[in-house]
Amino acid sequence: MTAAQRRWLLLAPAVAILACVAAGPLLVMLVYSFLEPGEFGGVRPAFSLDAWFSVLFARDMFDPEIVEPNIAHLAILWRSVSLALQTTLVCIVLGFPTAWFIATRPRGTRELWLFLVTIPFWTNLLVRTFAIQEVIRNRGLVNTLLMQAGVIDEPIQMLYTDFAVLVGMAYVFLPLMVLPLYAAMERVDRRLLEAARDLYASRWRMFREVVLPLSRPGLVAGSVLVFIPAIGAWVTPRLLGGGRNLMLGNLIELQFGQGRNWPLGAALSMTLLALVLVALLVYLRAVDPDTRRRDHG
């Protein structure tokens, strides 16, 4: 057996698994998106562009000749992108100081803090999301406290709003921001910070001029890790956003369930995939300067 053959033999199991569980289903989805929906779900083997058409457009109910943008879908698409971006932003704002705090603890205690950050991972997502419901519902913890303190007379409607979805997703995805940020900050040489202070930088400028640029790879990785699951999230928006504030994930789920429109679900899935790929391209572009610099050195 030649070396090349041996290499392929070693790669074969991984390739087979990838083909079965990653490429295969994607291919099925791609094919389904070009077929007609079956009456009780599933697909009929007839070619159709209807599903792709209705991702963005709709026909007038009475006159199929009139084509207009699919307002509902566009709204959901926009909400998904917007909420995912907001979630990423909130995670950055909360994650940066957290990661910096952990990275600057003495070596022995960092593991403890990291462990605390990852604790939510140990709990089921549904349980955690129901817990948030308890906190923010009209007779929940926050409203009760605010009313008892006399700050408000009526409970603030927080549950079943975009705000609730944002809170829930930021909470769920925060560790995905903190961990890569911490990994990047932990690698920053402490002597660089001392050098900056020695060269007349205040603490804030030391952070801005040295810590921030040097932890950028972690920031970018964390943003991607948060944005991608956030844009496709469906458990959190369903439980916290109620029935009305759908995100892309809920819309897709709907097509395979009550909607009985598998081709549309497949087309929407492909759209989501495209959005994620765009996000990844932006990511690669963002880390590019680093790669180029390494090539130079």
Binding site: R191, Y200, P213
Partner: protein, 362 residues
Amino acid sequence: MTTDTPATVRVAGLTRVFGDGGHAVRALDNVDLQVKGGEFFTLLGPSGCGKSTLLRLLAGLERPTAGTVHIDGRDVTALGPDRRPVNTVFQQYALFPHLSVADNIGFGLRMLGWSRSDRAARVYEMLALIQLEGLAARRPDALSGGQQQRVALARALAPAPRVLLLDEPLSALDVKLRREMQDELKRLQRETHVTCVFVTHDQDEALALSDRVAVMREGRICQVDTPAGLYEAPADAAVASFVGDASFLEVELLDTADGQATVRLPGGSVVRAVLAAGGTARGGDRVTAMVRPERVQVGAPGDGALEATVEEARYEGGTTRLRLCLDDGTTLFARAGAAPAWQPGARVGVTLPDGALRVLPA
């Protein structure tokens, strides 16, 4: 350097204790020190002697447990590193990897709020000083170790600090490059007249570069003197053995007068020795005397006052370093001419001329 310039750095009662309770370590113990303007001052000592801690206290990177630091007569003890007119060259250079050479050198100036054009002019001046004009746009990781070293120096010199602090800056370089950088460092100091406080554990480096050296041990300063002073007149056995080669003999003190002593050597012969200050020994006491290897004269057996056996002979180009064993078991180092090929096991006669021995305080 003139002796009556006021002290640029004045340290009084400086103490730094790490940890607390039973685990407390006194890294620096009640240190007093004065460094004059324009002086090249070296803190010399083995690792863990507190020299780096002292430097970090001068830079403001550490806070003292007790004591004060004055720079140019101003009390800076409570000021952070960004508010002290000192800059540091760090051990591993600590150049900012995300900034170009020019931006590294200009970093301090930018923090001080210099305008872009003033900064560019000063950075160019610094690049010319370290002779790296062509590399302004490079990243630090595209530079050799010696080049990084120069950039670190330029970065620390650019804001024209009152004191330049150097934390073992040459320890990461190989021997040949280190020699070059030592010369370079002396040239830069001559041209900029900056006061330097230099930390090293390398005694050759300390002797070669410094106007004055403070030898440190266990958080205290043992002796402050010129390199020649340290070598010729060490205050105690610790300084003598840390700075240069030294051999120690047990001798009998016969008489003392005016910094001179008459001592009886193990073999019975009597020579004149120098008496170090601070000793309390009197006639009749057994005392320790130190001798530098080049003061030991080696000849044929029966030729000198002492008889010894050559234990090891190492040719060092021009001279031979001999390890001798006196008949009473004392080890004696000597530097002899290369001419007779010294062989281990050979019997030799040893002479210690008047003034070669230095009686140290017990």
